[in-house]
C-alpha cells in the first residue's frame, strides 16, 4: 500500500470548490493501467476479427466486428457504472445474487436455445445471452460474501465443505448444460476465493488429491467400467492434446492445425498471407482459436503483445487484491484475478497445444457478447474495489 501511495500523482484536495470533470467522473480514482489494458485487448480483438472474418459471412464483411464492438461498448459502459458503485453492497445481496445465478443458469434448460447440442443461452432480441458468462462474476461476488459472512461459523473443516458446496452447485448446473469449460472456470473461481479467504493449506492438499482422483475416475475409470460421465466429444477434446491426429474431423487435428498456424506466423506474422486460419484449417477461429489467428497474422510480436496485455491485466488485478479496503474486496478481486488467469492460460495453452480443448473463450478477444460483457463487468468490479480503496484513503466515499 505504501508502494501505491508513492506512485500516485498529486490529487486535487478534497472538497475543492469545483471539482474538475475528471474528478466528477471519478477517473483519478480508477486504475488507469487496468482500464487501458482491458480496452486495448478488446480493441485488438476487434481489429483481428475485422481482418480475419472478412469473408466469413457472405455479403456482410463486418458482421462479427460490428457485433463485437457493440458488445464491447456496452461492456465499457457497464464497467464504468459498476466502477462507480460501491462493490461492498454486493456482499449484502449475496443470497440474492447467488439465487439469481443458480436460477439463471438453470433457466437455460427451460428457455435456452440449443446450439451444437448444448443449451447455454437465452435468445434475446439482439443477441443470445449466455447467463453462465456473467455468472462467473456473480459467483465471485456471492461466494466472497458467504466466505466473509461465515468466517466465524462452524469449524474450519465445515467451512471448507460449505464453500465447496456453494461453488459446486452452479458449476454442476453449468456442466450439465453442458459447458465443461465454464464449469471449470467456476471451479477455479471457487478455489481462488477460498484460497484468498484463508482456507487452510491442508484442506487444499485434500481438495487437490480429490481433484486428481475425480479426473482419474472421469477420464480413465468410468469409461473403462462403461458408464462414461463426460460426453464423447468432451473426453476427446480433453485428451486430444496428448495425441494429435490426422483426421480433420478430430479434435486433435484441429489443435494440431492451430499449432501450425501459430508456428507459421514466425516472428513478424504472415498478415493477409495467413493461410491456416484463412482457409479453415483452424476451426472456431473467431472464438476459441482467435489466438491462433493472432499468432499467424501478427507473429510472435503480436501474440506476445497480447500476452503482455493479459499479464498487465492480471498484475493489476492482483495488486487490487492487496489494495482493497476490506476483506470482501480482497476476496472478490482474488476470484476475478483467478478467473482471468485461468481463462487466459487454458485458452492460450489450448491454442499452443499444451492444454486440452475445453471451450473456454479468451477474455475480451474471443467473439461473443456475453463473454466480452462479463469480462468488462468483472473489470468494472475491480475498478470499484480500486476506487473505494483510493477514496477511503482520502477519507471519502463516492456517494
Amino acid at each position: 500500500m505504501m508502494y501505491a501511495t508513492r506512485t500516485r500523482r498529486a490529487r486535487p484536495e478534497p472538497f475543492a470548490v469545483r471539482p474538475g470533470i475528471a474528478e466528477r467522473l471519478g477517473l483519478p480514482y480508477m486504475d488507469a493501467a487496468l482500464g487501458i489494458s482491458a480496452v486495448a485487448l478488446a480493441a485488438f480483438g476487434a481489429f483481428t476479427l475485422s481482418q480475419a472474418t472478412l469473408h466469413d459471412v457472405p455479403g456482410s464483411p463486418h458482421y462479427f466486428v460490428d457485433r463485437q464492438v457493440t458488445y464491447a461498448a456496452l461492456g465499457l459502459v457497464g464497467m464504468y457504472l459498476l466502477a462507480r458503485v460501491d462493490y461492498s453492497r454486493f456482499r449484502e445481496l449475496r443470497v440474492g445474487i447467488y439465487t439469481f445465478l443458480c436460477v439463471s443458469v438453470s433457466l437455460v434448460f427451460v428457455f435456452g436455445v440449443a446450439a451444437r447440442g448444448s443449451r447455454r443461452a437465452f435468445e434475446l432480441p439482439f443477441f443470445s445471452f449466455q447467463p453462465s458468462e456473467v455468472g462467473k462474476l456473480l459467483l465471485a461476488l456471492a461466494l466472497a460474501g458467504f466466505v466473509i459472512d461465515g468466517a466465524r461459523r462452524g469449524s474450519a473443516r465445515q467451512r471448507t465443505v460449505r464453500y465447496l458446496c456453494l461453488g459446486f452447485a452452479p458449476a454442476a448446473l453449468v456442466f450439465l448444460q453442458p459447458d465443461l469449460g465454464t464449469a471449470l472456470v467456476y471451479g477455479a473461481i471457487t478455489l481462488a476465493v477460498m484460497y484468498v479467504g484463508g482456507v487452510r493449506w491442508t484442506h487444499f492438499a485434500v481438495i487437490g488429491a480429490g481433484l486428481v482422483a475425480v479426473v482419474t475416475i472421469v477420464l480413465v475409470v468410468a469409461p473403462a467400467v462403461g458408464t462414461p460421465i463426460l460426453k464423447g466429444y468432451q473426453e476427446e477434446r480433453l485428451t486430444s492434446f496428448l495425441h494429435p491426429s490426422e483426421d480433420p474431423s478430430d479434435a486433435g487435428y484441429q489443435q494440431n492445425q492451430a499449432g501450425i498456424a501459430i508456428g507459421s506466423g514466425q516472428t513478424t506474422g504472415r498478415g493477409d498471407r495467413a493461410t491456416q486460419t484463412r482457409l479453415d484449417f483452424v476451426p472456431e477461429r473467431h472464438t476459441d482459436f482467435i489466438f491462433a489467428v493472432i499468432g499467424e497474422r501478427y507473429g510472435f510480436m503480436g501474440a506476445a503483445f497480447v500476452l503482455s496485455l493479459y499479464a498487465l491485466l492480471f498484475w493489476r488485478a492482483l495488486r487490487i487484491v492487496t489494495l482493497s479496503k476490506n476483506s470482501y474486496g480482497t476476496l472478490v478481486a482474488g476470484g476475478i484475478a483467478a478467473m482471468l488467469l485461468f481463462q487466459v492460460f487454458v485458452n492460450v495453452g489450448m491454442n499452443l497445444g499444451i492444454m486440452p480443448i475445453t471451450g473456454i473463450p479468451l477474455p475480451l478477444l474471443s467473439y461473443g457478447g456475453s463473454s466480452v460483457l462479463a469480462t468488462f463487468l468483472a473489470v468494472g468490479v475491480l475498478q470499484s474495489i480500486h476506487m473505494q480503496a483510493r477514496l477511503s484513503q482520502k477519507g471519502r466515499f463516492a456517494w
Binding site: R270, L279, A303, N326, V348
Partner: protein, 622 residues
C-alpha cells in the same frame, strides 16, 4: 458491518501476503510457460511450421505427359496416343461402411448398364493384380455419364473420371512383339535407377521398344499446384504454380511396315508357331521381325479380363514369346554355311576339295545318312551347298570333331552368344562343344562325353544346338558383308515433337571377322545355286524369282515333334543387302514352308522397290 482492514489481525495479514505472493508466483509461472511455448513455436520452429502450413494448403496434381509415338522407317505410325475418359474407382476413397459402399457401387453399376456383381468381380480381379491402385471399370465412357457423375459428385465418393492417354495401334497387332506395351510402373521398378522421379500409377514401357527406349518415349509429367482449404476444395484463384507436361519424343524404327506385314502374314498363313527376321546385312537395321502366334497389344492395357490373362500368359502357344529372338531351336542344314566357313578357314578343305558322297557314312559304328536317302557322288563345296549334301558336311564335322574349329567359328559368327539387340527377352542359346558336354558328363548330367557324332550332328545343325532366326541371320550377314558382325537393332532415331532428329542409333559392330573373299564367293555361289539353279534345294520356290538370291533350306529334327522348317536367304546375289531368316515349328522340310514364307517377305521388300520387275507373286511356283 464491513470488515475493514483494521479488522484483520496482523497474523492474518501476513498469511494473506504469503498467499498473494504464491498466487502471483503461480501467475508468473503460467505466463512464463505461455511465453516460452509461444517463442518456441514461432521463433525457434517457425520455419518448420511455415513449411507445414504451406504443405497443408497446397495439393499437387500430376498432369500426365503423352508418350511419344513410334513410327516405322518411312514415318508410318505404328503407335500413337488417343485420349480416353476412363471410369475409375479409387478403393481408398470409397466409403468405409460396407452398406453405403454397396449402395454406391450398385448405383454406379446401374449407370454403366452393368451389374453390381460384375463391378465387384472387375474390382476383385484388378485389385489382386495391382492392390490399392485405382480400378478402371470402363474405358471410353460417354460424356453424358461424365457430366452426370460430376454433377452428383457427393453421391459417388471415390469414383473418378480420368482423362488418360491410351496407346493406340493404327495397324492393330502389327509388330506387337517389337513394340511391346506400356503399363503401370511396378513397385520393384520404382526402386530402379532409370525410374527415379516416377510415382505409382505412372506408366512406363514394359516390353519391346516401349521398354528399351522408354526414357525417350516417356515425357515428363507436369505439375499443377492448387491452393485448397481444409476440406480439400480448391480456393478461388488458387492455382499457384503450373509446370506443363513435356511430351515424350518420337521413336523411328528401322522396321519397314510392308516387310513386317508380309512376314507376319506369311507366318499366319502357315498357321504354325514360328518366327522371322529381315535385316540389313551391313548396318544391322532390322526391317521386319515377328513371331507367330502374335497378340493384340491393346489387350495388354488394363483392364484385363481373366480370359485375356489366360490366353496371353498361360496358353501353351505363348503368344507373348518372340520366337525370332527368344526361340531355342536346332537349325538343320542352314548351319552348313558356318560349317563351311570353319572347314575352309582351318584348311580342312579348300573350295575345290572333292569329297565322295555315297549317301551315307558310318562313324563309330553309327550310320549317318543323307536326307531322303539321296546320293550325290563326288562333289566339292559349291555343289554340296547347292544340293545340301549331308554326307559332305558330316565328313567336315568328323574331321573337326576334336579341334573345336567348328565351335570357334560358330562362336565368332554369333551363335550362342548375346547379339546386342535393342529388344528385351532375347535368348542366348546354346552352342554345343566338347568342353560343354564333357563338363556335363563329369557332373553326371549326361550319359556320355563329347563324341564325333555330336560334332557331326552340329555340322548339319542338328542335336543339342539351340539358336534362333536372329542369330542365324547375323551369321549369314557376317559372311555376306565380308566379316562385320553387326549389332541388330530396331531403333533408328529419336525425333522431337517438332520432327527434329535428336539422336540416331548406329550401334557399332560387335566385332570383325576376317573372311577370305574367295571363301565368301564360293559359299554365296553355292547358296545361289541352291535357290535358283535346277537341282538346288529351294529351286522350285525361288527358281522364278526375278531377283538373284542366295538361300539355304534347313530341316531341323526335333523328335518327337515333326521336323522344323528353316530358310535363310541373302538378297540380292552376289552383293546382298538384306538377309531374311524364317523358321516354322513343325513346318516340315525347309523348302516346304519356311522358303515360301521367305519368298513372300522378299517379294514385299523388292516389290516395293521395283514393282515393275516383280509382280506380286514374283513367278513363284508355290
Amino acid at each position: 458491518m464491513y470488515l475493514r482492514s483494521d479488522d484483520r489481525g496482523p497474523q492474518r495479514n501476513t498469511g494473506l501476503a504469503l498467499r498473494m505472493a504464491v498466487f502471483g508466483g503461480v501467475g508468473l509461472a503460467l505466463f512464463a510457460v505461455l511465453f516460452f511455448r509461444l517463442w518456441f513455436l514461432q521463433v525457434i520452429s517457425g520455419d518448420r511450421y511455415l513449411a507445414e502450413a504451406n504443405n497443408n494448403r497446397t495439393r499437387e496434381f500430376r498432369v500426365s505427359a503423352p508418350r511419344g509415338s513410334i513410327v516405322d522407317r518411312s514415318g508410318e505410325v505404328l503407335v500413337d496416343n488417343r485420349t480416353s475418359l476412363a471410369l475409375q474407382v479409387n478403393p481408398r476413397k470409397l466409403p468405409p461402411k460396407e452398406a453405403t459402399r454397396r449402395a454406391e457401387l450398385g448405383r454406379l453399376a446401374d449407370l454403366t448398364h452393368s451389374s453390381l456383381r460384375r463391378v465387384r468381380r472387375l474390382m476383385h480381379e484388378q485389385l489382386t493384380l495391382a492392390p490399392s491402385a485405382p480400378v478402371t471399370l470402363r474405358r471410353d465412357v460417354g460424356h453424358y455419364l461424365v457430366y452426370y457423375l460430376q454433377e452428383n459428385q457427393e453421391r459417388f465418393p471415390g469414383i473418378e473420371v480420368q482423362r488418360v492417354f491410351v496407346r493406340h495401334y493404327p495397324h492393330g497387332a502389327l509388330g506387337a512383339h517389337i513394340l511391346g506395351n506400356v503399363g503401370e510402373v511396378t513397385e520393384d521398378q520404382l526402386k530402379e535407377r532409370p525410374h527415379h522421379g516416377l510415382e505409382p500409377g505412372d506408366e512406363i514401357g514394359q516390353d519391346g521398344v516401349e521398354d528399351t527406349y522408354d526414357r525417350f518415349l516417356r515425357g515428363r509429367p507436369g505439375v499443377t499446384r492448387i491452393q485448397v482449404d481444409a476440406f480439400g476444395q480448391p480456393t478461388r484463384r488458387g492455382r499457384l504454380v503450373s509446370k506443363p507436361p513435356v511430351p515424350g519424343n518420337d521413336l523411328r524404327l528401322s522396321i519397314d511396315s510392308d516387310v513386317q506385314a508380309a512376314g507376319e502374314s506369311a507366318l499366319a498363313l502357315r498357321g504354325l508357331p514360328g518366327g522371322f527376321v529381315t535385316m540389313n546385312v551391313h548396318s544391322g537395321e532390322i526391317l521386319g521381325l515377328g513371331s507367330f502366334p502374335t497378340f493384340d497389344p491393346t489387350d495388354l492395357t488394363p483392364p484385363l479380363t481373366q480370359k485375356q490373362v489366360d490366353l496371353l500368359y498361360r496358353s501353351e502357344l505363348a503368344p507373348l514369346q518372340d520366337r525370332a529372338i527368344a526361340g531355342l531351336y536346332p537349325t538343320g542344314s542352314t548351319f552348313k554355311l558356318i560349317t563351311a566357313m570353319a572347314a575352309l578357314n582351318t584348311g580342312v578343305i579348300t573350295t575345290g576339295t572333292p569329297i565322295y558322297d555315297g549317301g551315307s557314312i558310318t562313324v563309330g559304328g553309327q550310320p549317318f545318312q543323307n536326307a531322303g536317302g539321296a546320293s550325290y557322288g563326288t562333289l566339292s563345296l559349291v555343289r554340296a551347298l547347292q544340293v545340301s549334301s549331308d554326307v559332305f558336311f558330316y565328313t567336315l564335322g568328323q574331321d573337326m570333331w576334336n579341334t573345336g574349329a567348328l565351335q570357334r567359328w560358330a562362336h565368332l559368327l554369333g551363335i550362342g552368344r548375346p547379339t546386342g539387340l535393342d529388344l528385351p527377352g532375347a535368348a542366348t542359346g546354346l552352342l554345343p562343344s566338347q568342353r560343354w558336354r564333357n563338363r556335363l558328363f563329369k557332373r553326371g548330367e549326361t550319359d556320355r562325353p563329347w563324341s564325333v557324332g555330336d560334332n557331326i550332328q552340329l555340322a548339319t545343325g542338328q542335336g543339342d544346338l539351340q539358336t534362333n532366326p536372329l542369330q542365324m541371320a547375323i551369321a549369314y550377314a557376317t559372311v555376306a558383308n565380308g566379316g562385320t558382325v553387326v549389332t541388330p537393332h530396331v531403333g533408328m532415331q529419336i525425333d522431337d515433337t517438332a520432327g527434329r532428329v535428336l539422336r540416331e542409333f548406329e550401334p557399332r559392330p560387335r566385332r570383325r571377322v576376317h573372311i577370305d573373299p574367295g571363301y565368301r564367293a564360293a559359299i554365296l555361289e553355292g547358296l545361289h545355286l541352291a535357290a535358283q539353279e535346277g537341282g538346288g534345294t529351294s529351286y522350285h520356290v525361288f527358281g522364278g524369282f526375278p531377283i538373284p538370291v542366295a538361300g539355304k533350306t534347313g530341316t531341323a529334327q526335333r523328335p518327337p515333334n515333326p521336323d522344323q522348317s528353316w530358310y535363310i536367304v541373302l538378297a540380292p546375289y552376289p552383293n546382298p543387302r538384306i538377309v531374311t531368316a524364317v523358321t516354322i515349328e513343325q513346318g516340315g522340310f525347309g523348302a516346304e514352308s519356311a522358303a515360301p514364307a521367305a519368298l513372300e517377305i522378299l517379294e514385299a521388300y523388292f516389290g516395293k522397290r521395283s514393282s515393275g520387275e516383280a509382280g506380286p507373286n514374283g513367278g513363284s511356283p508355290g
